[in-house]
Symmetry: C2
Subunit: 129 residues, 2 copies
Amino acid sequence: MFKFDQAGLIPAIIQDARTGTVLMMAYMNKEALEKTLATGETWFWSRSRQVFWHKGKTSGNVQKVREVYYDCDRDTLLIKVEQKGAACHEGYQSCFHYRLERDGSTTVVGERRFDPAEVYKKENSGVRS
Amino acid sequence: MFKFDQAGLIPAIIQDARTGTVLMMAYMNKEALEKTLATGETWFWSRSRQVFWHKGKTSGNVQKVREVYYDCDRDTLLIKVEQKGAACHEGYQSCFHYRLERDGSTTVVGERRFDPAEVYKKENSGVRS
C-alpha cells in the first residue's frame, strides 16, 4: 500500500492535532508503522542507531495518534497526534524551533519546556526518546 | 549548515503559513534550496525525473515563502508558504488528502479545487508542477 524507500523506510511528519504545529519528522519501517497503528502511540526506526524507538519511552512525552494521512505519492505519512509534554529532545515543543533568517542567521523560536539533561539522564541507549 | 543525505537531498515539509495545513513534502538539493531562498518561491529536486522543478511553473500554483525553519538534527526543513491555488497535482489543497481509517480503508478528505487534466494538459516534462 505505501511506498517504502530502498532502506525500507517512509518519512512520517508528526503534527499536533489541536494546534497544527509541525512537531517533528522521523522515519518508520513497516513494523514501526504496524506498532504505531496497533498501540495508538508513535514508533519509529532510528536510522543512525538501527533500532526501534517508542517516542516518549524515556521522557514520558508520548504521542497519542489521532489521525493518519498519506500523500498522493503514498511515500510520506502525516500523523496528527496529541503530544504529551514536548516533542523535541532539546526540550522544545517542536523540533522545528530554528528559524532561518534572510541574512543567514538563526533565531530560536519558542521556549524550553523541559531540561533535556534532567529528562534523559537515565537513558543509555543513545536514543533520546 | 544543513545535513543533506547521501543523494545530496534534504526533505522539505511545506506548510500553509496561514492555516497550518501541511500541504506536501518534497526534496531539495543545495541548489534548489538556494533558488528557493533567492527567489522567494519553492524549488525542488525531482528524485524520479532528476530535474529541478519550480512549484507552480505549470499550474500557476506557486508557493511564496514566508518563513523557513529547520529541525534540531538539521536534516529536515519546514517551509511556511502562501499557497496560490492548491498544492496537490491531483487538484486538492493538500497532498495529504488520504486518511487511513482504523479498518484499513481510506477516506478522501477535502474537495478538488481544480481539474488536473485541464491544468497540466500543456505539460510534457512529466513534472506536474
